[in-house]
């Protein structure tokens, strides 16, 4: 494309030749993320400063080329894919921690800083960055902000949005704007709160002020073992109903934990139907009494055994089993589709039964490894992506599970985002009036739909439809099955 050649030449002038990729074999690496979607950019650029981002954006606007931002590409909903082609801005080089303010428990970071690297930089002061998605070793804080990422410990400490106090952003016309402040209470409208979770459709985020949390003085990690999934899910519902908030409360069902154990050797009991991985944190005195209450609840629901991790090594091993579980499942099938539904926590037992029934109906074994404590389900469907019929069936089963979550008062996504994966399911939750206002708010930031077109909104409700290249999606996206 001629336009691309002119554009890339100008981009190289701004950024230098090493910071611009446009050869097909180079950009090919950027057509994936952690989802089942694809979308190839025409060029990928690696800016180092906010000013460079602003100049790139102005240039792209001049050439009428769409832009998508990208962190580490670990997203699970296609948020960082170039659905309409165009220019990808990868934030890998904007990975500096700009300020550490221990007194006020704040850090100012560039968007490409890796989640866990921030914690490593502050843990000597007894602090850490609380959002802990399973991909935290590689995912970036910019990506966490775009998707409003969660993680196991968000049960007690909140998701990314609860930890962001200020944002510097670049609008599609290249203007640089700062919203929020270091302390965190917004003045006028909470635009930082709006930007978190906007999936790159409003602005490019170039600097983030985050809260740093204090590491607890004591942690107890419990592994509760159950002979039925029902008992495990009733236990979670009961812990919630009694007003106990553990720092984390994760469930792994028997089938998935056996797969994980085979790979990780975390010490999960192979003959159980489900385990709960529960963590309590805080003062020594509080942790002891909370652990005792949880132990009691587990046993009241026929928990076979409640083990307490004896040391950090045991604790780390249990968490390694949990955090690498999706990878372990990947060994069983070529295609692993991880869902991300949310339900009221009081409806957990019936929902797990429903998921099992849907799996049987469509002929899939559906595993469950998820954030039980906040009702955030991650059913996992294994399929063969080369078998297009099977893929379609997997997507239909998935859509049915998500629809059930919504029917009982839940949501389409708890932490993975809508992206291009679930945009067509959005009408399950939102009316035309809801879309109309979201669209006007979108246009207040991104009036020409040049940023991340084809995401979040269903194609018929957003402005991206004219920009979508039919060739970029070689899989059908899940739709509302009849």
């Amino acid at each position: 494309m001629l336009m691309t050649q002119i554009l890339t030449r100008e981009l190289r002038k701004i950024l230098g030749p090493a910071a611009v990729l446009s050869l097909p074999e180079d950009v090919l690496l950027y057509e994936y993320d952690g989802s089942v979607e694809k979308g190839r950019p025409d060029a990928v650029v690696f800016p180092s400063t906010t000013n460079e981002v602003s100049r790139i954006v102005k240039l792209a606007a001049h050439h009428n080329v769409p832009i998508v931002g990208r962190g580490a590409g670990t997203g699970l909903s296609g948020g960082a894919l170039a659905r309409s082609g165009g220019l990808m801005i990868a934030f890998a080089r904007m990975n500096r921690i700009l300020e550490l303010d221990f007194e006020n428990q704040r850090a100012v970071v560039q968007p490409g800083v890796v989640n866990l690297d921030l914690t490593r930089a502050v843990e000597h002061a007894g602090l850490y960055f609380a959002p802990d998605p399973s991909s935290q070793k590689s995912c970036t804080i910019g990506g966490n902000v775009a998707e409003n990422a969660g993680g196991p410990h968000t049960l007690a400490y909140g998701v990314t949005t609860n930890h962001i106090t200020a944002i510097e952003l670049v609008l599609p016309d290249g203007q640089i704007v700062r919203v929020g402040n270091k302390q965190g209470d917004p003045s006028l409208y909470d635009l930082a709160g709006l930007l978190v979770g906007s999936e790159g459709t409003l602005a490019l985020i170039t600097e983030i002020t985050v809260k740093l949390s204090r590491k607890p003085e004591a942690v107890k990690t419990l592994l509760a073992i159950f002979d039925t999934i029902d008992d495990a899910s009733e236990t979670v519902a009961d812990i919630t109903a009694r007003g106990i908030t553990p720092a984390a409360c994760e469930m792994l069902d028997g089938w998935t934990l056996r797969t994980v154990e085979d790979y990780i050797h975390a010490g999960f009991p192979l003959d159980s139907a489900a385990v709960l991985l529960i963590e309590v944190e805080g003062l020594h005195e509080a942790v002891t009494s909370q652990a005792a209450s949880i132990d009691e609840i587990c046993r009241a629901h026929n928990g076979r055994e409640v083990r307490v991790a004896r040391d950090d090594k045991e604790r780390d091993l249990l968490w390694k089993g949990r955090k690498n579980s999706f990878g372990a499942l990947g060994r069983l099938a070529a295609g692993v589709y991880v869902l991300d539904g949310v339900i009221p926590r009081s409806k957990l037992p019936q929902t797990l039964r429903r998921i099992h029934a849907i799996g049987e109906q469509y002929g899939f074994r559906i595993g469950n490894i998820f954030h039980a404590g906040d009702g955030n389900l991650h059913p996992i469907v294994l399929y063969d992506p080369r078998d297009i019929e099977q893929f379609k069936r997997a997507m239909q089963a998935s859509a049915e599970i998500i629809r059930y979550c919504v029917e009982i008062g839940g949501s389409l996504s708890g932490e993975h985002g809508i992206g291009m994966e679930k945009s067509e399911l959005m009408p399950l939750l939102f009316s035309d009036a809801d879309f109309a206002l979201m669209r006007r708010v979108h246009d207040a930031f991104n009036p020409r739909c040049s940023l991340n077109p084809g995401k979040v909104f269903p194609l018929t409700k957003g402005c991206g439809e004219t920009r979508i290249r039919s060739s970029s999606a070689n899989h059908p996206t899940p739709t509302i099955s009849a």
Partner: protein, 478 residues
């Protein structure tokens, strides 16, 4: 057709008020509406908005109106849209710890219902007995409990509201974790009715552990020592429910005044009852001329002992002159006063000017030094609340109107504003006498923002015709 007649075509005539006495109770800093509309349903409210959009009538949504005079007043005020008739719980799932309620429901009434299931919403805000959910969200006011629970933006899960086209819109949901769609409900927090009419709010609820809570007070001779003790606690393993420092001026008011909260109306069985601020203080808790550190905490006995031990230790190391541990009898009246601090200040002085300064907490000592010298120079009594989360409430309390000219306040306002900017934060005006508001409007609020274009575009997205509380937050060129 007059606007009143048009309103009466939508609402029962008993729900449209036009007599001067009724209008006067809806005055915002002396500005009266043309009519008051009291919709009985969300659909009626939406019809009023569609009428207003068509006729270009300005609308100010209201709850109990306890915080309606915060900040600048609107420049046009045709319809006061009183949402108090919509005041029911729509959905409560105690086992999920989530609740959904109408915007016109008083927070105290909702909390009484939640308390039946030993849960609560940590929104213990000033004017607690009257304040509605919608008003608390729209005013963005905080509560001493933010130390443990955060502000409303942290536990507001979703909302339904009417936008400026009259469409009923929702965002978020009822579940505790949700990333579907833009978090438009976050924009409603602190929007002062300029974006939408809030009709329903979904919250996460919390176990009512404040039931078993204790309090801790320590007195210090200087603000530096009090703030240093606060910092030590904030940076420790403890996680108190509240953590505030108050100045001698505020302590004097707490000791000498009992808030004149109107009689609560039958929903006060809970322990965070609306009347608790009216209990007399049992003894001399607040030492004259001393700075006070106030903390609250809760838990089983061994946890409570740990708090008492550690807090006492920090206070002693920081050279506290007196220490007191509050129990079930002594905690409620002190907590009540902390909750009602802003309403108490306004009772003490009808001419009060109250500012909010959001700066990083480590900057508080410097801010206090500057504020004290400003108040001294102006010969004005000063009351301060300094929350560990960084919010600083500053009340200048003249004894009579002549002490407080528009020029004095304007100058002070400019100083507070520049203080906010110089300390990495923002200042805003909450309350000031109506007579001097016009002199302040151009300075405050919008004055603290160099660039409002993005804010204006967001306002236009919600309210294309600028009918909601025009110019209440910033001048809109529309």
């Amino acid at each position: 057709m007059t606007s009143t007649a048009a309103l009466e075509s939508i609402l029962d005539s008993s729900r449209v008020l036009v007599d001067p006495a009724a209008l006067a109770t809806y005055a915002i800093d002396g500005l009266l509406p043309v009519a008051v509309a009291k919709p009985a349903s969300t659909e009626e409210a939406a019809e009023v908005i569609r009428l207003a959009a068509k006729e270009r009538l300005s609308v100010v949504p209201t709850g109990a109106r306890t915080k309606i005079s915060i900040g600048a007043r609107p420049t046009r005020y045709d319809i006061a849209l009183d949402m108090c008739a919509l005041n029911q719980i729509a959905h409560y799932d105690p086992a999920d710890l989530t609740v959904s309620a109408d915007a016109g429901m008083p927070v105290a009434k909702l909390n009484a219902a939640l308390y039946e299931r030993k849960q609560f919403l940590p929104l213990l805000v000033p004017y607690y007995s009257q304040a509605t959910l919608g008003g608390v969200i729209a005013s963005g006011i905080d509560s001493p409990l933010r130390q443990a629970y955060g502000t409303a933006r942290d536990f507001l899960l979703g909302a339904e509201f009417i936008d400026g086209t009259g469409a009923l819109v929702k965002s978020g949901g009822r579940v505790v974790k949700n990333v579907a769609g833009y978090d438009l409900h976050k924009l409603l927090v602190g929007s002062f009715g300029t974006l939408a009419v809030i009709t329903r709010l979904n919250f996460r609820t919390f176990p009512a552990i404040i039931d078993r809570s204790r309090g801790f007070l320590a007195s210090f001779s200087t603000h530096e020592t009090a703030l240093a003790a606060r910092h030590k606690i904030a940076a420790s393993s403890l996680s108190p429910l509240t953590l505030d420092v108050i100045n001698p001026g505020a302590a004097k008011i707490f000791s000498s005044r009992t808030p004149a909260t109107p009689q609560a109306t039958g929903f006060t069985r809970d322990t965070h009852r609306t009347a608790e601020s009216q209990l007399p203080l049992p003894g001399e808790w607040f030492h004259a001329d001393e700075w006070q550190l106030c903390a609250a905490f809760a838990g089983p006995p061994e946890v409570v002992s740990r708090y008492v031990r550690d807090l006492t230790c920090v206070a002693e190391q920081s050279r506290a002159s007196a220490i007191a541990v509050l129990d079930d009898a002594t905690r409620p009246p002190i907590w009540g006063r902390l909750r009602e601090a802003l309403s108490l200040f306004r009772e003490v002085s009808p001419f009060a000017a109250i500012f909010k300064l959001n700066i990083p907490p480590a900057r508080h000592a410097k801010a206090v030094r500057v504020l004290e010298s400003l108040a001294n120079a102006a010969k004005l009594p000063l009351a301060l609340i300094a929350r560990a989360a960084g919010t600083l409430y500053i009340a200048l309390l003249p004894e009579s109107a002549p002490d407080f000219s528009a020029e004095t306040v304007s100058l002070l306002a400019l100083e507070v504003l520049s203080l906010g900017r110089s300390l990495d934060g923002r200042a805003s005006l909450l309350f000031a006498p109506a007579a001097i508001k016009p002199a302040l409007e151009s300075t405050l609020n919008s004055g603290s923002h160099p660039d409002l274009s993005l804010m204006r575009r967001v306002k236009s997205a919600f309210d294309p015709q600028n009918i909601f509380a025009p110019d209440r937050l910033f001048r809109n060129p529309l």
